[in-house]
Symmetry: C2
Subunit: 206 residues, 2 copies
Amino acid sequence: MTIDLLTPDTLPLQLGSAIALRELASEQILFRQGDSASALFIVKTGRLKLVRPTLERRLVTLQVARSGESLGESALFLKHYPYTAIAEVPSQVMIYPKQDLLAALHHHPDLAEEFMTLLVKQNLALMTQLELRDIRAAHRRVLQYLHYLIDPDIPNIVKFDRPLKNIAIDLGLTPATLSRALTRLEQNGTIIREQCVIKLQKISAA
Amino acid sequence: MTIDLLTPDTLPLQLGSAIALRELASEQILFRQGDSASALFIVKTGRLKLVRPTLERRLVTLQVARSGESLGESALFLKHYPYTAIAEVPSQVMIYPKQDLLAALHHHPDLAEEFMTLLVKQNLALMTQLELRDIRAAHRRVLQYLHYLIDPDIPNIVKFDRPLKNIAIDLGLTPATLSRALTRLEQNGTIIREQCVIKLQKISAA
DNA sequence: CGCATAGTTGACTACGCTCAACCCTGGTGG
DNA sequence: CCACCAGGGTTGAGCGTAGTCAACTATGCG
């Protein structure tokens, strides 16, 4: 409950084993859906995304893991990865072998509890994504997405740290539609754009 | 790993405390989003759904819990329920107080591991739902949904146990569109309908 | 027998997708 | 220093299709 055990710094202490590092180039695949699930990863630098290919040969983005965040938790309780992990930019990930982690979870109730909290958080994130998809109108969906992104410390400002192309896909839109949605919001006076910096105005009605 | 600890029968043994029961009428609310999170529930009879109201005054269905299944796991690690639980039909739920369960998870690593597996499974279910939403064409989405529902024991047969109206909402469609999608699939020869029983044919192309 | 609800079907509208052209930026090489 | 190129982003025209609203049918229940 006190400090965060699930970080690159503190987790090795729990495991008591050497941790490997892996470098990934942009667009490189860390593991594929269906691969034998062997490890959990924590992003040291860069950015990864978890995706699943759909029937229509498109990719659904399930999660984006940034520096300090973990990915592949499901692996600990499944035989195969249920999704594919791809580096969006050149990245480094720390590798935590499945068996070691499982043993650690077994012996450290606090770590287990923290891990459960993490899983629940991920659940919530997925629910939020699902909720987003239920908003039909593209500009409304985008607006809601912006609201999720605002940092309480820097109110009403959102800065995109990844290409609009990717964000569009995350939102279940095409780049063209996202672009139109943003211009529409700007003409509404709902937002003000300056490159990848978005400023939300008070009035958030459509 | 041997037997399932997270069932109405075995869980009380882990908790060592009396378990309360609650009866719900159809459409009755078990707890609301934002309520103080006090317990986890397991459905004894009936059927509940977890929903979140969206901006457009619609309800996104996040999960459907049938007899023997649990709901409200997130509550153990959050102060407030992140969704609303509604009975779709008259139901009975067993109540497992949060504190008792947390203590049990702390002292029984096997129970904790099983719980984590459960959380991961729910994660996967949400991912699957998200993937469904990425299929634009209504009839294709429905077809994929049907594929998810087939029971390996009874191949190519799906029986709806809830009104089409609800299923439509789960799929992010209107009842009208779902109806059209089903008739289209039938005219395609992809499925054969008889009331709420659907038979899938071999050829599953659109 | 009537009422309420679920399901189906029709006509119309709206909007997101597709495909394409175009602009703009950054990087490379002559 | 400029010419070229590649990629992301924007904008336009047209199409398909899901939503909406409504009417109608069918079913179950009082």
